[in-house]
Amino acid sequence: MENILEIDRLTKRFTDWEHFSPKSKTILDRISLEVKPGEIFGFLGPNGAGKTTTIKALMGIIRPSSGTARIMGHDILEKSQEVKKRIGFLPENPYFYDYLTVGEFIRFCAALFGITGKKAKAKTDELLELVGMTRAAGLPLRKCSKGMLQRTGIAQSLVNDPEFLVWDEPVSGLDPLGRKEVKDLMLELKKQGKTIFFSSHILPDAEALCDRVGIIVGGRMHRVGTLPELLKDSVSWVEVVAQNLPEGFALNDAKVEKVAGQLIIRLEGPDALDPALKKIMQAGGSIVSVSPQRENLESYFTRQVRTAKEAGQ
């Protein structure tokens, strides 16, 4: 099956006319990645890395300087109407026509897809229920909170029951409950066979949701791959929590920290586990817990970004 999204050396240059001397800034530098059908792909990067710019280019809001991208096989420059009928887009910090109510806006979006009348009303109700905005249907968008706008945004991106979703910061502005709801929704949509490409700052969420991720830093793609692939180089250690150990208990090659009457021992590498356990038992201590730890995406990410920045990006 072909990739839902293929980006090939997408570049965007922008001329900065400050101080009367035009300077060419490269915002995106040969970005490449693919999104396979049915997967959730996380597009991650620090602020200003170019996530939103990339998405804008994909959606035809701005024109790329060079490189190509294909959505469902169609070049984005074609701006194919067929493709647009099968995708849903949620922009970052969405703004809507503030003179419309939530319901009117969703119906407007539906009308653009040719869904009108009773069908439109049914669809609107269904979507509003899905995002928990049923009671707010008659509220003017002008009066909605950020969270409500975000939910409305999600709803409008689903109006046409699209196969492919492009969401820029989908959980921004939502409280923890809201975030959970969205995450659950994303998993549900994936179960329905949809493909989701989203950008985010919130890495733990990405870790939980994504099949594959792409990290972009300073306009360049840094790493692309599945989480296991990315994290296989990452550091892993074992954390042992023990108590009733005598004062001054120490282990070689291990960090020992005393917290509330317990000792938290960090062993570098799983091989050190058995000898350490033996030593603890011999010292008369009791094991509270043993947890193998892996560097999580967040710290991996931070490390990667730092490395990239040091490499002068």
Partner: protein, 255 residues
């Protein structure tokens, strides 16, 4: 086609809910009866003066609405980023433009109906009778605005609303004298200037084509052919202008 209609309806809704429009209409409603005050300063010819004044007021307010809304329309979409949502929908940019144009024309139509009715009422109270020519004149004023609105939208794809508004007003003023320019063109020194002057006089909208004020005041006969020509002119000119605007919009980066 349906998409254009959807956008047009939406635009109409936007204008109607926009407070500026109300402000202008209310103002017009005050001014039109206020013309009675002006009339009291003249001796004789009250009906003519009322018509004079009334047509002028309608033309002016119509122009204000057309220019203010027309130039702000696209800018608002882009400035407020509301256009992002539309971009991923199967709506072409030209459909957006055309939809907004028709939505705005619908709004103007409403404004004209209100102002026209007010004038008719005022006229009737003074013992005057609005005849066919009267309505034709108002229709002509509306015709001018179909063309000017298109020009306003064209400028709005290129410049900020304030600048576009200024340009559009200038075009309106130039447009009322376009035929004069054509006559003067022959007197220009040098062939290049002659050709340039003639070219400009064709490119700017010839608003006199829509002007029936003189016929109305002096009760002169109206040639039917003129009406058809007027319609044809509006259609061609508006189509041309909106096409150019669409092309510009298509190639624009929407920040």
């Amino acid at each position: 086609m349906r998409r254009i209609l959807t956008i047009a309806v939406n635009t109409f809704r936007e204008s109607v809910r926009d407070r500026i429009l109300y402000g202008l209409i209310v103002f017009a409603l005050i001014v039109l009866p206020g013309s009675r005050l002006v009339i009291s300063l003249s001796v004789g010819q009250e009906i003519r003066i009322l018509k004079d004044f009334g047509f002028g007021a309608i033309a002016l307010f119509g122009l204000l609405i057309a220019v203010v809304s027309g130039t702000a329309m696209l800018f608002k979409e882009m400035d407020k980023r509301t256009i992002y949502v539309l971009v991923a929908k199967p709506v072409k940019r030209w459909e957006l433009l055309v939809g907004k144009y028709f939505g705005l024309m619908a709004t103007l139509l409403l404004a004209f109906l209100i102002m026209g009715a007010t004038l008719v009422l005022t006229l009737a109270l003074m013992g005057g009778k609005p005849d066919g020519l009267f309505f034709l004149t108002i229709a002509g004023l509306f015709g001018q605005l179909t063309v000017i609105t298109a020009v306003a939208m064209l400028f709005s794809t290129l410049a900020s609303p304030a600048l576009s508004a200024v340009f559009t007003f200038c075009v309106y003023i130039a447009g009322t004298s376009a035929d004069q320019l054509r006559l003067f063109a022959d007197r220009m020194p040098g062939d290049l200037l002659k050709i340039a002057a003639k070219a400009v006089s064709y490119v700017i909208p010839n608003l006199q084509n829509f002007n029936f004020r003189t016929e109305s005041i002096y009760n002169l006969p109206v040639d039917h052919a003129k009406l058809w020509l007027m319609l044809a002119y509006a259609v061609f000119y508006v189509a041309f202008t909106l096409t150019v605007a669409s092309i510009i919009l298509e190639r624009k980066d929407l920040k």
